[in-house]
Amino acid sequence: MTLDQQIVTVLAAGAATILTRALPFLVFPASRPVPGLIRYLGRALPGAIFALLVVYCLREVNILAPSEVIPQVAGLATATALFLWRRDMLIAIFGSTAVYLILVNLVFVS
């Protein structure tokens, strides 16, 4: 991407974010009730969307190549174990990223 294209992409993402924050004020004047379906989706969707984002991060992993799969699985297992143990997002992220970096750079060197 060129510099201009990067700026346009960031601004597009910014516009989308502002839209999600401002839309209720545009759509629901005064105290018009919020439909039940909308409230249900607000509760039900986030788990599914973060599952999608994990899959998105893994989209280019070649599942037939152990040197790619093993570091990813080990990293995700570390993140899961650390988070369930300490309930601290930063510890889980830094710890699992360290495990992944070590595996990719020192063990499965291509």
Binding site: V10, A12, A44, A48, F50, L52, V54, T80
Partner: protein
């Protein structure tokens, strides 16, 4: 000048202590985001620019990774729209209050990230302090911490001697952890599991470059179709949480909404709220978010306060 002394400064004094838990979390997570973006090969100013133009943690990680790929602003717009769709529910909860604060609402709406929302929703200014300036300062202080963290991280990342192979795993770990956090708080995992299956199916059918928008559509359709089974399960296990609209949570501004928060978990979280939160990018804000989840679910709760 009198107005500054009698209105603006008292609101700042009232707002600042509430933002202290966010200070540590935002600076640390912002630095992670800044280092991440620069190590992907982006210019040093991109993280700061995103912190102003987007100001939503998980979205900024995602956009940073998109910036090193193919140019596709429409896909970026749609993806971020759906990733940040939870913000819709924050605005819904603050409709009336924001209407009363005049032009300051334009900034406060723009800066309505998860943590800012959870503080503003759960707190009221002390008597005699202007609510508009109170919320304005909470928003501005939090955004300042985030911009500061992103900028520091970018400058730090820029002076690291080498590109580190595999640093993008930090984003995978971030989303995994948010997913787990969500998982431990939901009474029904049905939609989360269906979302995972739908994502894998879309990846298999459409391939790595174009699967995300079809996956989002599929998730939406599946979630709507599952409503009649999922919603009674939530209501049965969780009397309080059944009406909870949403809540915030993760450090980088990734709120997560729980499809029915279990009421005892909410209680635990509320009680844990005042404990020191370690590095807690998330824990400080989470207590308030959970409190919000309870407040939203139980109108009497807010009146008690």
């Amino acid at each position: 000048m009198d107005r500054i002394k009698t209105v603006v400064l008292p609101a700042l004094v009232a707002a600042f202590p509430l933002t202290i838990p966010i200070l540590a979390g935002f600076v640390l997570t912002g630095m992670t985001c800044g280092v991440f973006a620069v190590l992907l090969g982006l210019p040093w100013w991109v993280p700061s620019f995103m912190a102003v133009a987007i100001f939503a943690g998980s979205a900024e990680f995602l956009v940073a990774s998109m910036l090193v790929g193919a140019y596709d602003p429409v896909s970026a717009f749609v993806t971020i729209l759906i990733v940040n769709a939870r913000h819709l529910f924050y605005g819904l909860s603050l409709l009336e209050r924001f209407r009363r604060i005049g032009a300051k609402r334009f900034y406060v709406i723009y800066a309505l990230c998860d943590e800012t929302f959870s503080i503003e929703y759960a707190s009221r200014p002390p008597q005699g302090v202007d609510d508009g300036w109170f919320m304005f300062w909470i928003s501005l202080l939090n955004q300042f911490y985030w911009v500061l963290g992103c900028t520091l991280g970018a400058l730090f990342g820029a002076v690291l001697p080498v590109q580190i192979e595999g640093i993008s795993f930090a984003m995978t770990a971030l989303f995994m952890v948010i997913f787990l956090d969500q998982w431990t708080r939901e009474a029904s995992h049905a939609v989360a599991l269906a979302g995972f299956a739908a994502s894998v199916a879309a990846l298999a059918v459409f391939g790595a470059d174009t699967f995300i928008v079809p996956a989002l559509v599929l998730i939406l359709v599946v979630a709507v179709a599952m409503r009649r089974w999922v919603e009674p399960a939530c209501a049965a296990t969780d009397l309080d949480g059944a009406e909870a609209i949403s809540n915030g949570g993760a450090g980088a501004g990734d709120g997560t909404c729980s499809p029915c928060v279990r009421s005892h978990d909410v209680q635990d979280q509320v009680e844990a709220r005042d404990e020191p939160s370690g590095t807690g990018s998330s824990t400080g804000a989470k207590g308030r978010s959970e409190e919000f989840a309870r407040a939203a679910s139980d109108p009497a709760y807010e009146e008690e306060r």
